[in-house]
Amino acid sequence: MNILREVGGGLLKMFVADGWLAAGVVAVVSVAGILTRSGGVPPLIGGAILFLGCIAVLVASVALAGRQHRRDR
């Protein structure tokens, strides 16, 4: 049971190493998906939202960790 729990925890950590990053990625994909599939924006604009959104989430997550590190020192 212990091994199963550790494997389950390892699998979860594989995809959700940082909660905010994972939530941000899911939010960006959801927004891009809804806008594209509903016809609200042309597919290529949806693609740009997806890519730029991911970049924004990454930069925000790294910047947040950097600021936290400076505050903790």
């Binding site: 091994i3 899911v26 990454l58 960790a65 950097g66």
Partner: protein, 249 residues
């Protein structure tokens, strides 16, 4: 027939990503084998590989049943979650915010944990070492399996991706058998950075394809996405870089 230009990105991505994971698993198996005996460590490793092989055999036919767009969307999102996690960690390590992963330190920690274990070392077969090796192979191996499926399944490139992962195992085992110590010289963070960039690029591409976006230039967009993620990653390192020795303990 799969052309070399189609297969090369999948093979190299699977090889480099697997290299990082196999090195980490090797360090733990080495600690288990050195301290608790090789029979247990080898049995644990073999058991881990059998479980992994079973997962691959079970998943293979299942993946063929999933519609391609849904498969690309699910794998694309998982790739984004996995790849952006790796890229974030690699950026923070390169910037000195998080300490670099040290295989020698990992080996020392595992060795200390096994030395402190209350279970007495028996001659021949040792469960503690075997279980530690099993968990290491299974956990790191699951990441390898995911990477192989992620870079291979969307384009029918499972075989080339598997070859890349297998090559990484062979390289690490061959070097490990010769030097018989943790492979601390492998530039783990540089590899992780590179793989993070590649996985993010594949992730955006396949998520988009899964959503029905026809990317201009088709597969060439993966290169563009990769280049842009690399520039952003390097820029982020430069922006938050800490002086040497300032990494969090």
């Amino acid at each position: 027939m799969i052309s070399l230009t189609t297969a090369a990105p999948a093979v190299s991505a699977a090889f480099v990503a697997s290299l990082v994971e196999v090195v980490e698993a090797f360090t733990i198996v080495l600690a288990a084998g050195t301290l608790r005996g090789w029979r247990g460590a080898i049995a644990g490793t073999a058991a881990g590989l059998v479980v992994l092989a079973s997962i691959v055999v079970a998943l293979g036919p299942l993946l063929e049943q999933v519609p391609l767009h849904l498969l690309q969307l699910v794998i694309g999102v998982l790739l984004l979650l996995f790849g952006m996690g790796w890229l974030r960690k690699a950026v923070l390590r390169a910037a000195g915010i998080v300490p670099l992963h040290d295989e020698n330190a990992a080996f020392a920690a595992k060795t200390a944990a096994l030395s402190d274990a209350t279970t007495p070392l028996r001659s021949g077969y040792d469960w503690l070492g075997g279980v530690m090796a099993f968990k290491a192979v299974l956990l790191e191996g699951l990441e390898v399996v995911f990477i192989v499926i992620a870079v291979g399944a969307g384009r029918g490139l499972l075989l080339p991706a598997s070859v890349g992962a297998l090559a990484a195992c062979v390289v690490v085992l061959a070097i490990g058998a010769i030097v018989h110590r943790p492979l601390a010289r492998v530039p783990e963070n540089t590899l992780k950075f590179a793989v993070g960039v590649i996985l993010c690029a594949f992730g955006v591409f396949w998520t988009g394809e899964g959503l029905g976006i026809a990317w201009p230039g088709a597969d060439l967009m993966i290169l563009l996405f990769g280049a842009l993620f690399l520039i952003v990653g390097l820029g982020a390192v430069a922006a938050i870089r800490q002086p040497p020795g300032a990494a969090a303990r």
